[in-house]
């Protein structure tokens, strides 16, 4: 089955899924202001306001991103005062399935590094191997997944059973030896009981 090409709709949907999964709430169209007619989607969490805007081509993005930034700034200004911290926490996510021409690479980098008014996150077809790569472009907005951060209570000893299994040592036996070590009991006795029960059974 042929893989359908990435579309702006799919990209927006992927972006929305990622943000909603990161405790962002989508702003209703009625409250989105200018965004309501742009096909863009706005999200807000405790820290920031993020607007996802998708362009069919790089050219559309290059010509339209300033308007997008202005719209975002206006939306934020409508709800936050200058002295509010979130007034400065706007993220403009500019997406396009199109790729950046070589002679536009400098412009793309410049947009990416422009931190005035709002932080710009650029997601283009150059980085998109698949639809899931949309999430990679949204990393600055997303928390670290729990599975990537430390596994609670997992330490070197907890990793040992799987490692020792590579040496044809059963994980049960490894766990028994480790448990004996932690309980300050004889590992030999516990392993013996384990083997003996196994052989008896």
């Amino acid at each position: 089955m042929a893989v359908p090409p990435l579309t702006t709709t799919a990209m927006l949907a992927a972006g929305a899924e990622a943000l909603v999964g990161a405790d962002y709430r989508e702003v209703d169209e009625s409250r989105a202001g200018e965004w309501a007619n742009r096909g863009a989607r706005v999200f807000e969490n405790l820290y920031s306001v993020a607007a996802l805007v998708a362009y069919e081509t790089w050219e559309g993005l290059a010509h339209g991103w300033l308007d997008g930034q202005a719209s975002l700034t206006n939306l934020i200004s409508a709800h936050f005062q200058r002295e509010d911290a979130k007034a400065w926490e706007g993220y403009l996510v500019l997406m396009t399935p199109g790729t950046v021409p070589q002679d536009e690479a400098v412009e793309a980098a410049r947009i990416r590094r422009d931190t005035t008014h709002a932080r710009k996150l650029l997601i283009t077809g150059d980085e998109l191997g698949s639809i899931d790569d949309v999430e990679l472009g949204l990393l600055p907005l997303l928390p670290l997944p729990a599975r990537e951060v430390e596994a609670e209570g997992e330490n070197a000893l907890d990793l040992l059973p799987a490692l020792l299994a590579r040496h044809a040592i059963s994980e049960d036996a490894a766990r028994i030896a480790i448990a004996a070590f932690k309980d300050q009991e004889s590992a030999a006795e516990r392993l013996h009981a384990f083997l003996h029960e196994e052989s008896d059974s």
């Binding site: 807000e44 931190t115 951060v149 596994a151 330490n155 070197a156 590579r166 040496h167 040592i169």
Partner: protein, 711 residues
């Protein structure tokens, strides 16, 4: 452990006492360069680990303006379990002291305090060769990113040390300890197994010994057990015959064989006694028969002969003595005469020589010629012997004496011989009489002795016959009992052998099972030798997505957007290297410093540091302490990392310092509290004086209505 408060005095930039509130999710320390930002973070490191290598010795931590001449830091923290820990470290530049109080418990000092701190914060360090150094390394590499050492993990540290650092962070020390404990357990197990093997060997030898014994002996022939009536009858006869033992009630009674054996011995003794008595009687009988008649020597006559001979010899000796005396007298007279004659002769010669007209004596005239003639004739003539008696024949008399003495000796000999014969006869007779008396024969009835002796000999022989018969019967009975006992014993041995075989089988099985356990334990121990590097490798694989995520968030390079830490073994040593990669060009470099700018390298270094900090399941301090490390990053990288830190504040306490007040404002905004229970504290160091900066602290206010557009 989460930090709660810090009190410093005399420490680096803080000469006077200052208390810093650290009980917040985020602590932003702002101040111009040289005002003490780093001093605050160094104080935390020093309180926990007791060293700041980049400053050198403890002498460097003491403020030049300290009034006491000492540096003192008191750090209060709280563990996940809610235990309050108060660490106090002080130093006068030469020696330092450390104390620890847990909750309201006893104040520990010195090594005891250090040990307890390790147990609380970093138990894995206890297995390290230098636990304090391990704790310091964990804090330095995983918690506190020092301003001057941002890139040291990548640049200055070599592959092996990186591996060691990550190993300590992930707790490979516990693996080493596990290996050591398992080896100890295996050794103890082996000792017991060896003991069991030896016991098994002893069992085997015992079984073989018993089986050999059973094999070599054919076993007793079945015999008819002794008849109890016959048994009793025999004992009655034995007792009658003189056996002085309490008869056993039956052959089955305990000790019956022993008593029978003793009875046999007694019968033997009785037999020997009868034999002796019989022999005594026979001997006496024989000797009586051989006794000769009394000798008929006339001792008196012989004595008279001796006396006569002695008398004759005495007389002969007397005669001889007289003759010898007489002969001696005659000889003396003869000698005198000869001497006189000689004197006269001598006088004559003198006179002849000296004769002159007158006598030399009286001076008268004399007949000189006639005198001379007479004197000369005196010289010529032999003396005239007076008529002496004839000498007696002494030799003949001596011969007579010898003869008489020989006669005496002969008579005496005859007398002695006769006397000896008489005494001998008497002696023999006395002995026989004595023997007869001992045998109970009447002394007066000597003539009846032979007859009596013959009767007695017959009696003894009859008794001997009886005793012999009893003994032989007893020996037969004894053999029956012994053989019965041997059969029972053999059966017992066979049962014992069977039991021992079972026990041996159990012992063998036990040893085999123990050996299997040993093999499994050895396998685990051998596998653990590679486990440390496997764990590091595994942890790095687990860290990889996190590192990649952090690095991607920082987004330092448009092409090299993949960062990894790779572990490998080289010559038995674990090594870790940093790599960056271009996923689209499929290019990877193990020398990022050759491809990245200084700022990009800083971003990579910070990413690695944060990955290690966030990726470890346990750290001595649950904090990220960043001493102005973000200043060298580009704005986009900076914002990216701060956004990342924002998402970790629920897992790590953030302590960040900056000299840039605008950046400080950015931090306050980015890391402001947005939820109930969150707290962000700003520590503002203002001005510099010899006593230290002026410190102002305040809380960043929480946004009470953070969500407004989507609300």
């Amino acid at each position: 452990m989460r930090l709660v408060s810090l009190e410093v005095s005399g420490f680096r930039g803080f000469a006077r006492r200052e208390v810093i509130d650290l009980d917040a999710d985020t602590v932003v320390v702002v101040g111009e360069n040289g005002q003490g930002k780093t001093s605050i973070f160094d104080a935390i490191l020093w309180a926990v680990a007791g060293q700041i290598p980049r400053l050198g010795s403890d002498k460097s931590v003491v403020s030049e303006f300290s009034e006491s001449g000492e540096a003192r830091v008191s750090l209060v923290g709280r563990t996940k379990q809610g235990t309050k820990c108060t660490m106090v470290r002080s130093s006068d530049g030469k020696s330092s002291r450390f104390s620890l109080q847990v909750d309201e418990g006893d104040l520990l000092r010195g090594p005891a305090a250090t040990d307890e701190l390790l147990k609380l914060l970093w138990p894995d360090a206890l297995a390290a060769t230098d636990p304090n150094q391990a704790l310091f390394s964990a804090v330095e590499r995983g918690v506190y990113l020092q301003q001057d050492l941002v890139r040291s993990f990548i640049d200055a540290t070599d592959d092996k040390e990186r591996f060691s650092t990550i190993g300590e962070l992930v707790g490979t020390g516990r693996i080493t300890e596990l290996q050591r404990v398992l080896e100890s357990s295996r050794l103890a197990w082996t000792k017991v197994t060896t003991t069991r093997e030896n016991e098994g060997q002893a069992l085997r030898r015992r079984v073989e010994q018993l089986e050999q014994g059973l094999a070599t002996s054919a076993g007793p022939e079945p015999t008819v057990p002794p008849d109890p009536d016959g048994w009793g009858t025999w004992w009655t006869r034995a007792v009658s015959a003189g056996v002085a033992l309490e008869p056993p009630a039956s052959p089955d009674a305990g000790g019956a064989a022993g008593k029978l054996d003793a009875a046999i011995k007694e019968l033997k003794l009785l037999e020997q006694l009868e034999v002796r008595r019989r022999n005594d009687a026979s001997s006496l009988q024989r000797d009586l028969a051989d006794m000769p008649a009394r000798p008929a020597d006339d001792i008196k006559a012989l004595q008279a002969q001796v006396e006569a001979a002695q008398l004759g010899a005495s007389q002969a000796r007397s005669d001889l003595t007289s003759a010898e005396e007489q002969a001696a007298a005659i000889r003396r007279t003869q000698v005198e005469l000869a001497e006189t004659q000689e004197e006269l002769r001598a006088l004559a010669q003198i006179a002849i020589r000296h004769l002159d007209e007158h006598c030399p004596v009286c001076d008268q005239e004399y007949d000189r010629a006639g005198t001379k003639t007479r004197l000369e004739s005196r010289l010529r003539d032999a003396p005239s012997d007076r008529a002496l008696p004839e000498l007696p024949d002494v030799a003949a008399l001596a011969g007579a004496v010898q003869q008489r003495e020989a006669e005496v000796a002969q008579a005496t000999r005859l007398l002695n011989d006769a006397s000896a014969r008489g005494r001998e006869w008497e002696s023999r007779w006395a002995e026989l009489t004595d023997r007869a008396e001992r045998l109970g024969l009447p002394v007066s009835g000597r003539d009846a002795w032979p007859k009596e002796l013959a009767a007695r000999i017959r009696t003894h022989e009859e008794r001997l016959t009886e005793l012999n018969a009893l003994r032989q019967e007893a020996e037969r009975l004894l053999l029956v009992l012994v053989r019965s006992g041997e059969r029972a014993r053999r059966a017992e041995i066979e049962r014992e052998v069977q039991s021992l075989r079972l026990e041996l089988a159990r012992s063998t099985r036990d040893v085999e099972q123990r050996q299997k356990t040993y093999d499994l334990l050895s396998k685990i121990i051998d596998a653990l030798r590679d486990a440390s590097s496997d764990v590091v490798d595994e942890q790095l694989k687990r860290l990889a997505p996190l590192l990649q995520r952090i690095y991607a968030t920082a987004d330092p390079h448009p092409a090299f957007r993949v960062a990894r830490l790779l572990s490998r073994m080289h010559r038995g040593q674990g090594r870790v290297v940093a790599s960056i990669g271009d996923p689209f060009a499929k290019v990877e470099s193990l020398a990022p410093e050759t491809l990245l700018s200084s700022s990009q390298m800083n971003a990579l270094a910070v990413s690695i540091f944060l990955a290690l900090n966030l990726g470890m399941s346990a750290l001595p301090l649950e904090a990220v302490i960043l001493d102005d490390p973000l200043q060298s990053l580009d704005d986009v990288n900076l914002l990216g990392l701060i956004d990342l830190l924002r998402s970790t504040r629920e897992r790590r306490q953030l302590l960040i310092s900056t000299h840039d007040r605008r950046f400080a404002s950015l931090l306050q905004r980015k890391l402001r509290p947005v939820k109930e229970g969150q707290r962000t504290v700003v520590v503002d160091l203002q001005g510099w004086s010899r006593q230290g900066p002026a410190v102002q602290q305040w809380n960043v206010e929480r946004d009470l209505a953070p969500v407004r557009i989507a609300a």
